[in-house]
Amino acid sequence: MIKPVLECIGVAAGYVKGLNILNGVDLVLNSGEVVSIIGPNGAGKSTLLKAIAGIIKINAGRFYLNGLDKTNTPTYKIIHEGLGYVPQVNNIFPSLSLEENLEMGNQKNTNENFSDVYNLFPLLKERSKEKAGNLSGGQRQMLALGRALISKPDILLLDEPSAGLSPNAVDEVFKSIVEINKTGVSILIVEQNARRSLEISNRGYVLDQGRNAYSGLGKDILNDEKIVELYLGKM
């Protein structure tokens, strides 16, 4: 039976009081799914992830995690309840070593979690004593993913994981996302590289001006001429 692990109902949120970026967004992420959120710049995609993670306040609507109302739960608490979040920028601690970065995310304090992350990203083990601030863009993204994964989340929110990366690094990141999903983690991705993201997604949502514009299966969105023309651009 399909079980929603994350659900947003009529979520309205924004950065400034009285000025919502999201205006009643509905979204469901089922157990084991990869779901993409796509849309033009300023549609509110990243804002939605921040509202879910408790970084900005939800002004209206509700957000449920595993069926429980978690609207406006403080960020650090929601992370302890099985949510992992990788922001687009500022997603590593530059003055800490790679190992310490992972340690910061390892709230359960188990060594086993380290070995799982090191198996997925061997580079993090090789350079574990180095300062994270010295890493390249792709390596930072791996570290950020590792930091989020080390707490063994059930749900992972990824904000533009391929932004600013070289083509090779983008391949690596998407490969990692598929691998992570295979371990049973449900994933919600916001991505400018919409085609690439939809290719690995079960379903997708199109947001426009803070509202749901369309939702459907990933492959259906990719094959919908109107959506392709409006939001993805002709190949």
Binding site: G54, Y76, Q107
Partner: protein, 305 residues
Amino acid sequence: MLDQLGNGLLLGIIISVASVALSLLYGVTRIVNFAHGEIIALGAIMASFFSNLPTSRYIFLENTSPLGLSFEISLFLSILICGLFGAVLELFVFRPLRRNEFGNIAVLVITIGISIFLRHLYLIFASSKPQNYPLDLQRREQYFIFDLTPRNAKIIVYGILIMVLFGLFISLTKIGKQMRAVRDSTELANISGINSDRIILYTWILSSMLAGTAGIFQGMINDVRWNMGFLILLLVFAGTVLGGIGTSFGAMIGGFVIGIVVQVSVALPFMEGHTEAKNAIALAIMILILLVRPQGIFGKKERIS
């Protein structure tokens, strides 16, 4: 010159401890705390209140006698009170300001207000008369090349020990690492599951305890005055900025350099008869270094994203 080097070492240790505290607080909270000097003074004044004998010539609040506790217990209680005071400042002033997203300038002005308020509260509580701790007079002795009293030599050893322990705490313990994580990014720390409010509270407590300790050291080598924190604050800022604001190790070294330069400059030939201007030399050196290295000696320019 060697006499002054010993005194410089002593002042350097005091400024170093106070600078580390200021730098830690700034690094984690981004607050430029002008009330830091008053927390330094709080440690010194409370130690005087606890340790001086009830029969001494010092009177607090015009009719209250000091408590006459042992000096060791007085130190412990004073440092504890400084920590509690830091917690009160965070819980009742700075956390509400943070929740209401007050700007940095507004917060800075508030710290200046707290500084002025506290300083005058100390004037009422401790009077304007300089006070001394009930410690015996000691003769200077030779320690390597330094000419110091045994007590002052102990202050140097304890100061170095405190900074070594602080360095180990910040590098190796879970809370220390979390403080460094919050210093890098409060938002990312929260996203990692760290309760950044709790870490900021611990930072206020630790920073205030270190500041209070520096105040007690200052009281032990000179005297205790209501405005002693304000008088040393500029040098503490200089040490912090010189080492690289936000870096604890930099603040340690910066504070040390400033202290030594201030004292040694007294022995310079052109300073004869102008010892009151000794701070000017240290501040001029700070400006020169910052012109060449704006991030301070140990400050780093790092990629943020």
